[in-house]
Symmetry: C2
DNA sequence: GAAGTTACCGAAACCGGTTTCGGCAAGCGG
DNA sequence: CCGCTTGCCGAAACCGGTTTCGGTAACTTC
């Protein structure tokens, strides 16, 4: 029994050099070593240097878990991903994770992720992770206008940062890309190209970004002196199928739009299908400007004009903000909003048709199909 | 100062109920509580029940970090993802993560992930995570035939499981889907449909799966009594562009194949493009059977026939295996290989053309383009 | 009824760190 | 030359758990 225990212990010793090893190597106590390594002011410079050197040469790495039980800080950021249809596809996840992981790794932090299937599941996991202190704080992607995660974390006094904004921003830090400005710019650009009836395909209202893009659309109209016409706003669409339906809805208006602004690229790709059904050429018969910057936008003809969001960069920034937040910075000072970058490709152009002409083409196409 | 410290402490008290709280509530020592909760045999059933009940009603949850410093076990599984072109796309990542996270969560484990950009980066992160004991073991996705990660973890005596197999399997546990059997079956199915010249688009040789699928291809030929013709094996292709080039290469043979077996769906989608260039109809002029089961395969016409791998299930199984491995099970007993499921869709069918006919069509198409 | 088990639990050490407290020696002012 | 800071470090408590060790009471056993 003794042999066994001894063997195990020496095996562990061999694997891991502890603060005691460093201390005994130097002939000091571990308290001195600890304070030297953590930059306490009551350690002389010479001692500090000796300790650092010894720690380095022995390959000493403090165990984050052991540190955490006294300090309460684990240097781990938490991430609960809700993998619904919205996020499964695209490099979104990969890029987002890469950004977070990279920034975390550079700051010597780690990332613990969990995946959920529903809102309740997300909340349950968040609660569990916070409760068992598996992370010092959380990044909340895809913020909702009314977001229970925020309410929970705020109540539990657990630090967090938002990717996106929300209704009640008390105590919230966030990073976001100004998709409302992008949407507004899309309208203005289309107006400058001669378009006067500009349709809008919104996102799901529960997401904050969907509201903001709608605001941007209206702000754009206002700035161009165009009246807001509720008919020009379709049903929400987040994917190709719904996007096709929404575009179809708008194209079947008595005076259809000559240009579409889509909230997400995936819906815009659906609009391509709808246009094709009526033999409308995207970029000439019908202009489309969208938002996201997904890669499939480059695979269609003509290539999709869009506002691109750098998701990887967002992950990096969010991580940096969260670490600052955990370190005690006030949330009011941790709010960043950056513009999206306009990627002009082939799906938008000067207004070549009037709404009336478009309506004729469309009704002809429909008649042709009926025959 | 005292007030501040006191306040902080009582705040922490309020947040978290410790084993001491449970013990003092019951009037016992924390050692009794600990042993009762951990199922030690020297605690009476009545005491055990009382402790469990008290812990439950007080909402006591042991801190994994605190446990870890004595037990050395964190209940965390590690994952270093190399996000190259291969994995960025597709729901692969999302599904894989979902499976791992779900299985881990159910076993009350957590997942710490890290992302890397290169082989060296992966190794560096793996080394760091293992060194600082941020995880008790690792899941290694995308195993290579010669895999430095395996060598490192084996040397460091850190538990791990492979998603895929490798050359030297000493001490390795793994889960894999038998893509070699799938590839063989693909050949046999095509043979049964009358195809006699069956081309093969391999994957990158450094991946184990690519070798296995090549073996499966040859095994299929052997079983069908077809000779192996090196000309019928194209350059490796993992994406659409390369897939198109590889298919083009095979179609330009003097006696082109009437059917293709592709190692990955993405390459098969490239083959669609190549076929379109010569006005070849997939499924009749040229049959294609592939492997992966990605969703884009359902968006093309005709839909892609493929062998589908349940990546989410793989994640779940790998997690279960890793936990067993960490709990001391021998790696030899932790090896699973399951078949892929055949998804018959529209891209394969009876051989309608001879190779000679195909060659004629192709050369005609080329001449037409030249004019 | 004495001796020997056995069941059960408390006391204390331990894990690898951090942090508080106090003491010694050098430096400084008077 | 004495008292008082000040700089620097050791001793010990602490964090939240686990695990070893030993002792008491009840229960056998003859």
């Amino acid at each position: 029994m003794e042999t066994r225990a001894h063997k195990v212990r020496s095996a562990l010793r061999r694997q891991r050099v502890t603060i005691n090893d460093v201390a005994s190597e130097l002939g000091m106590t571990k308290s001195t070593v600890s304070r030297a390594l953590n930059g306490y002011p009551d350690i002389s410079d010479t001692t500090r240097l000796r300790v650092r050197e010894a720690a380095r040469s022995l390959g000493y790495r403090p165990l984050a878990n052991a540190q955490a039980i006294r300090t309460g800080r684990l240097r781990a950021i938490g991430l609960v991903l809700q993998l619904n249809e919205h996020d499964r596809h695209r490099p979104f996840l990969a890029d987002f994770l890469a950004g977070i992981s990279q920034a975390a790794s550079e700051a010597d932090w780690t990332v613990t992720v969990s995946t959920a299937a529903s809102d309740e599941d997300t909340l349950r996991l968040l609660c569990k992770l916070a409760d068992e202190h598996k992370a010092d704080g959380f990044i909340l992607p895809r913020t909702l206008w009314e977001d229970l995660r925020i309410a929970f974390l705020r109540g539990a006094k657990v630090p967090f940062v938002l990717y996106g904004r929300t209704r009640n921003s008390d105590g919230c830090a966030w990073f976001d890309i100004s998709s409302e400005a992008a949407t507004q710019e899309a309208v203005e650009r289309l107006f400058a190209l001669g378009h006067r009836r500009i349709g809008f395909v919104p996102g799901a209202e529960r997401y904050t970004y969907a509201r903001l893009r709608m605001e941007g659309y209206r702000a754009g109209l206002l700035k161009c002196g165009l009246a807001f016409d509720p008919d020009l706003v379709s049903e929400p669409a987040l994917n190709r199928t719904d996007g096709a339906a929404s575009a179809d809805q708008l194209l079947n208006l008595a005076t259809p739009p000559t240009a579409l602004v889509c909230s997400v690229d995936r819906a815009a790709l659906g609009a391509y299908e709808a246009a094709q059904n009526y033999n409308l050429q995207i970029g000439s018969d019908l202009s489309v400007i969208s938002y996201d910057g997904i890669e499939e936008g480059e695979l269609v003809a003509p290539k999709l004009t869009t506002f691109s969001a750098d998701v990887r960069d967002a992950g990096r920034r969010l991580t940096a903000l969260l670490i600052e937040r955990i370190n005690g910075a006030a949330p009011e000072n941790l709010r960043q909003v950056l513009p999206a970058t306009f990627v002009a490709r082939g799906s938008h152009g000067p207004a070549m048709r009037t709404s009336a002409e478009l309506a004729t083409i469309i009704s002809n196409a429909k008649r042709q199909v009926e025959e």
